[in-house]
Symmetry: C2
Subunit: 339 residues, 2 copies
DNA sequence: AAACTTGCATAAAACGATTTATGTATGTAC
DNA sequence: GTACATACATAAATCGTTTTATGCAAGTTT
């Protein structure tokens, strides 16, 4: 399995009987070669199976054709494929496809700020950073190095930043609460996470706002994202102690699953005894019994927008921009009063 | 978001008052510098936050610190995060972690043989190719380019290859069949896929062999992997027409899920009316009702072995090698006669 | 005929590292 | 006092491109 020397621009030049400059110009449509010579050189290059070395080209152009993606919540979890969370995988998968559409590719980079990081990390063309926390250190690092990036969700510590894409979290929360209200729920418990990101902030504000407008009691609880199902389970006693609510709206899917289990153990089943909805769709919400009403954040669209924005920035085509993507409410049995 | 010029080896040399050769030697423990000078240079480099440019280094060394992974079955599906298949994601995730342990990183490369591919593809240090088909073109391409690779599962067209890691598929199949037999099953239908890879081949041979040894009828069916649940559903009429079997052993999880659904529609429920087992564990097999007995291929261990082997090869430490990883049978309610 | 364009092609510098080939002192052997 | 190691440091070549700066004809203008 020895490494064969690849055919280089020099080889092509020799075979075509021209200078390497000529070859470079012919293949990149630059310089002042005659169309005739260009054609001939292209032919020779093709026939020799020549492909420019990405490293050498990258060294000159300082563009390597790869963008990085950092999934902040998974950094925190220290687990890059946690069960019950397929949003990030769908997002990353869709982002990979979108980058391919631009002739680029995507590389997942684990935790840019602690421990040794891939040597290539600082040579990438740009970064996507999902769900940054307030004053996110990864964002800070990229900023410091002058590497272009786009965040998915806002960095709360950088209100002036204008390089982000986000889902319309507040709208989604309102939509969900209104749906539950329509189904007859009055007292609605809201369970959020503890990460200090725009998603949690937006949902909490929207919830409190909605409660005030509709004159309903505020019953807001929090559980660390990292605790997952267990975190949801643990909240149930506190929820019930305060009196049985009509509905529970859990922002994360894993909390919702834990809540559902713990409720069932107490003989409480949705939608018979309470309504249940959650803020992110996942395999679990689709296949659980009953299936859980959830917000589809439309990761595919988010990914496309994010990649387009980042690519535009790296190419110097667009100054930057903020883009909101609306979500969709998937109503399932867990929140259907007549279900 | 302008790109700041990074600190280069030249800057460090200037600041330390030495040549760039000295800096390079100090940082890479080469050359004949005095320990004193070495220390001093390292200090200066550190204080300036110097980090060698990966592209420049890669150009010289022709090693970039990144290995590629190609998931062949997902290439065929043209979907890199299909629902109901978490084996590949677990494998890829575990492989990423293992590469980090070696100071390298992992990059997923979509379909190396058709369409435009990332420019970096042929500059990577090596490749992992999962479940190659017979005479796999991706393997052929890597071979041709002299790029080191390790396959997960054997390439049936390359019997002499000695650079693979595989799960002990035949053992796993026997283990499953024996379990079903112990639970009272005699007539067992086996459903395999149509991809021409070692996994399908091994399981089919083991099944036929087991039937012969135990004097049971051979009822082997096939359905394309790409059809997923629908493929499983479609087989059910044929299965029932031949007479109700005691058990069904489906090699893929998605076929199993489809079979389970179609059977249920006919009022047939496992384990009451038949036993059900499947050859790969997934979220679906864990959370379905009833949970389905499945083989855990132990993707984490497979990934570690695969990465270790590949890294050893790229570093010229090991000549190559074949490694088998045994699987584990996760017995769940779908195959428990007294369940 | 000298002075400009135009059209085409190439030489050489640059990107940022690593590695090979050379020095230059200083100390030791004969 | 010449020859020969030894210890330390650097100059220059190299990796494979892209890009900038030159160069040389042939044709045009004055």
């Amino acid at each position: 399995m020895a490494r064969y020397p690849n055919v280089t621009i020099k080889d092509v030049a020799a075979r075509a009987g021209v200078s390497i400059t000529a070859v470079s110009h012919a293949l990149n449509d630059k310089g002042t070669l005659s169309e005739e010579t260009r054609e001939r050189i292209r032919g020779v290059a093709q026939s020799m199976g020549y492909q420019a070395d990405a490293l050498a080209r990258g060294l000159r152009r300082s563009q390597i054709g790869v963008i990085g993606i950092v999934l902040r919540p998974l950094d925190a979890l220290e687990n890059y494929s946690p069960p019950g969370v397929d949003y990030f995988l769908r997002f990353a998968g869709a982002a990979a496809v979108s980058t391919l559409d631009h002739g680029l590719s995507l590389m997942q980079v684990a935790d840019l700020v602690k421990g040794p990081v891939t040597p290539l990390a600082f040579s990438l063309d740009g970064y996507i950073v999902t769900d940054p926390v307030r004053d996110d250190p990864v964002v800070g690092l990229l900023e410091e190095r002058g590497i272009p990036y786009v965040t998915l969700g806002r960095d709360l510590g950088r209100p002036d930043a204008s390089n982000w894409v986000a889902s319309a979290d507040a709208d989604a929360a309102r939509m969900t609460l209104e749906h539950l209200h329509e189904q007859g729920a009055r007292t609605i418990v809201c369970v959020g996470g503890t990460d200090d990101n725009s998603w949690n902030a937006d949902v909490e504000i929207a919830y409190r706002d909605w409660c005030e407008r509709t004159d309903q009691p505020v019953r807001f609880l929090r559980s660390p994202e990292g605790l997952g199902e267990a975190g949801g389970r643990d909240l149930v006693p506190a929820i019930l102690d305060d009196g049985m609510p009509d509905a529970i709206y859990s922002v994360t899917g894993r909390h919702a699953a834990g809540i559902q289990e713990a409720m069932r153990e107490r003989g409480l089943v949705a939608p018979r005894d309470y309504l249940l909805a959650c803020g992110t769709d996942a395999d679990q919400t689709r296949t659980s019994d009953p299936p859980i009403t959830a917000i589809d954040l439309r990761p595919e669209i988010l990914a496309r927008e994010t990649v387009n924005l980042l690519v535009a920035i790296t190419r110097g085509e667009a100054p930057a921009g903020r883009r909101l993507v609306s979500s969709e409410l998937l109503v399932r049995r867990s929140s259907m009063r007549d279900g």
